[in-house]
């Protein structure tokens, strides 16, 4: 499977390519619509992460993280706008998003933020 290959890939561009290949495989089979959608999301996430890394001048590494982890990293680094964008892009439900935010705020000991919550 191209998928397993993708998970091992370290190089960003190669990884996106193989995830896209996996996407193609899944879209050929109409019973695999869900998997295809997921792979599409995956490649979008990877692209977004690349962009984030560029924005932060490669100081913070995002690549290969899950959606949750990416949001957490954004929040931890004071990029809450980006976190909100991720939330809407990936349709993260409120409940989960608040949990992530809660954990992140506790981690940074941002008690004012917690209060405003």
């Amino acid at each position: 499977l191209a998928l397993e290959e993708a998970s091992r890939m370290q190089d960003p561009t190669a990884k996106i390519t193989s995830v896209k290949a996996a996407h193609k495989f899944f879209s050929e089979d109409k019973d695999r619509a869900f998997e295809a959608k997921m792979m599409d999301e995956h490649s979008r996430l990877l692209a977004f992460q690349q962009q984030l890394e560029k924005e932060t001048d490669d100081k913070i590494s995002f690549f290969g993280q899950s959606v949750n982890e990416t949001i957490t990293t954004c929040l931890l680094n004071g990029m809450s706008k980006r976190a909100d964008k991720l939330k809407s892009d990936f349709k993260v439900p409120d409940k989960r998003f608040w949990y992530i935010k809660l954990h992140a705020l506790t981690k940074t000991r941002d008690f004012e933020g917690l209060d405003a919550f």
Binding site: E35, V67, Y99
Partner: protein
């Protein structure tokens, strides 16, 4: 009757000797000093069989892990010891070619565990090194991990059979069981459930027939065994998905037990009061593998033979462990106090003589108190209790949609990946699938939370032959075999009396095997009871009122005045054909006669009944692994009857976590295999 019970156990240490001797033989087949290169996944099993010193006695000079990269060996002989995996062999080929380039000359021997395969030599041929290496085998089979448990210690068997479709471990199991037959005689009857179990039974009978035809030692029927019961893990996926609640099971859930060794903080093992612990004491000396693995945490071998307190605790429901520990502590305290009462010199000497064993006990008490302290906060956590609640509700099919949204909550909170997926699978099995839309949503959430890399895991869980995470109704395009796998849980719950509800306290529950899961009886063990303890399935054999009734119902088992019911002879699935038939997968029932041909049983053929006072052993083989809790339940079941002991044989000890992780490919194994 403790010592009486003890005698009834089959002596399985013989198997360890065999494993040891064949290792020595394999090593001795290479003359002179040698460098041993070891597959990390074999280190654990090997440490159960032999010590480092034994290896050294037989010429092992240095040991390395088998891993990618160059190998520097001083000795001419290089011995590789590994499982026949292509990945491993490629590494070996790479090392050999590297040596050739550096024009170093070594003699290579490859010992494959447990046997060689043509695939391996093909790979070596393709790599162009087949001529440089001698291929041989080290036939490692059952290793005793307790008096009544023997294991192949093959952790990936489950994944290989039901995810990869690799049947090698079925074959290896048949080989190992055949060895058992060679030692103790032929199983008079083989009963089993599940497709893979069916293939195993076929392989085993074929092997038996061949071996008796080929050689003159046609084996007689075993005097010691009355039957072999093969339970295919696929027939009971529910049990491993649940959280284990016995002491040993919880240690496995929380800390993880690998090859009977648990990693605990070193401080727990150190004895500050007694820094010069006698090195001869086998229970405290850490096994050789730990010196190889340079880890901060120390490994402790858990075994009831060297640690009586553990033997007492291992199968207890965790709720009663605290009480028991307290009792042991009090007794120890009393024993220590006895010193003050010592008056004469003789009494004093007597006490000093006992001191050694007291200290050992003291030490193990410390260990178990420490372990409990690690476990208790975990069992008090909200996630743990929530998941238990979900499990119990799902098992009684109570408010399934509510449970699913509770799982979603856990997911949102970022609970452990394996916990969430276990609950999801459980919901899917017990409820016959999850509503398609809900399932899709959760799967999406799941991937977003834990990473898209886990999509293969979801796919393997949904694909046949596993198919334990399914939408309901099934999409029309699904393969028919998937539909056939549907698990008749609600019916089974009634017919096998899986969930004991009501107001019984834990103490009363202790009378049924459901005690181990605080109210749920493992299906796998109920199936075993269907064959070997029919009364126990229908009602609680230990509750006096119903005992005679259940005996009548089952039509076997002579009611006795004594507490224990005499074990009835093995008559296959009789009485439970319908129930067993409702579970997908092949049902096996074969009688083996002494002459070597195997026929499907006719109704009249029953094994000879166990004579009064004479004990037989029923071997229960779990293909694909069993949990510590199931072992505990079988031990319990074994205590209910007179005249029959269970010997648990398995491909390995598993837990829900280890199954999920092995499928996901992120096992604890991967983390532990980093060596020097």
């Amino acid at each position: 009757t403790t010592d009486h019970d003890f005698k009834e156990h089959l002596d399985v240490s013989l198997l360890k000797d065999i494993a040891r001797n064949s290792l020595v033989q394999a090593l001795n087949s290479v003359n002179g000093a040698k460098t041993l290169v070891l597959d990390p996944s074999l280190a654990g099993p090997l440490s159960l069989v032999a010590e480092i010193s034994l290896l050294q006695q037989h010429g092992v000079d240095k040991m390395f892990w088998l891993e990618a990269g160059p190998l520097t060996a001083v000795t001419t002989n290089v011995v590789y010891l590994c499982r026949p995996q292509i990945r491993m062999v490629k590494v070996i080929a790479d090392q050999i070619k590297r040596h050739a380039r550096e024009s170093k000359t070594h003699t290579y021997t490859l010992l494959l565990v447990p046997r060689t395969s043509t695939l391996i030599s093909r790979v070596l041929e393709e790599e162009g090194v087949l001529g440089d290496i001698t291929i041989s085998t080290y036939n490692l089979q059952f290793i005793p991990i307790a008096d009544d448990v023997i294991s192949l210690e093959h952790e990936n068997a489950f994944k290989e059979i039901w995810v990869d479709g690799n049947e090698a471990s079925v074959y290896d199991s048949a080989q190992a069981l055949h060895t058992l037959q060679k030692l103790y005689g032929r199983f008079p009857r083989i009963v089993g459930k599940g497709d893979a179990a069916g293939r195993l039974a076929t392989l085993l009978t074929r092997q038996t027939t061949q071996s008796s035809a080929g050689s003159d030692n046609a084996q007689a029927l075993s005097e010691k065994f009355d039957s072999l019961i093969v339970i295919d893990r696929r027939t009971d996926m529910i049990t491993p998905l649940l959280t284990q609640l016995t002491y040993e099971g919880l240690i496995d859930e929380v800390i993880g037990i690998r090859n009977s060794h648990v990693e605990v903080p070193a401080s727990l093992l150190a004895a500050p009061s007694n820094p010069s612990a006698p090195p001869s004491d086998p229970s405290t000396s850490t096994p050789p593998a730990s010196s190889l693995l340079k880890e901060k945490k120390k490994k402790q071998h858990l075994s009831s033979s060297s640690d009586p307190i553990f033997g007492e605790l291992r199968d207890l429901n965790f709720a009663s462990v605290g009480k028991r520990l307290n009792k042991v502590a009090r007794r120890l305290d009393e024993d220590y106090k006895a010193r003050h009462k010592a008056q004469s010199v003789a009494q004093l000497r007597d006490f000093v003589g006992k001191l050694g064993s007291l200290q050992t006990e003291h030490q193990s008490l410390r260990l178990h108190t420490g372990l409990s302290e690690i476990i208790v906060p975990y069992t008090r956590s909200s996630v743990f209790n929530k998941s238990l609640e979900i499990q119990q509700n799902l098992l009684s099919s109570y408010d399934v949609p509510g449970q699913i949204s509770a799982i979603e909550d856990l997911l949102a909170q970022g609970a452990d990946m394996q916990l969430v997926i276990r609950l999801l699978c459980l919901a899917s099995i017990t409820a016959g699938g999850i509503r398609a839309k809900t399932l899709e949503n959760i799967k999406r959430e799941f991937l977003q939370t834990y990473g898209y890399d886990l999509l293969p895991l979801l796919l393997s869980l949904a694909a046949p032959p596993l198919a334990i995470l399914l939408p309901n109704p099934l999409p029309p395009s699904t393969a028919p075999e998937v539909a056939a796998f549907k698990y008749p849980y609600p019916t089974l719950r009634k017919s096998l009396r899986l969930v004991i509800d009501g107001t019984e306290t834990l103490d009363e529950l202790e009378n049924d095997i459901s005690y181990v899961y605080s109210g749920y009886a493992p299906i796998s063990i109920r199936l075993v009871q269907c064959v070997a303890q029919k009364g126990g399935v229908l009602s609680n054999p230990a509750s006096g009122k119903t005992r005679s009734a259940s005996d009548d119902a089952a039509g076997r088992g002579k009611s006795q005045a004594s507490v224990k019911v005499q074990a009835h002879p093995i008559v296959g699935w009789k009485g439970f054909e319908d129930v067993v038939g409702s579970i997908s997968g092949k049902t096996v029932d074969i009688a083996q006669n002494g002459l070597g041909s195997a026929d499907t049983v006719s109704a009249s053929a029953t094994s000879h009944p166990p004579q009064q006072g004479q004990a037989t052993t029923t071997v229960v083989f779990f293909l694909g692994g069993c949990t510590y809790t199931e072992i505990a339940a079988l031990r319990w079941a074994g205590r209910q009857n007179q005249g029959r002991k269970f010997l648990v044989a398995t491909t390995g000890v598993v837990s829900g976590a280890s199954i999920i992780e092995s499928i996901a490919g992120v096992g604890r194994g991967a983390a532990a295999s980093k060596g020097p």
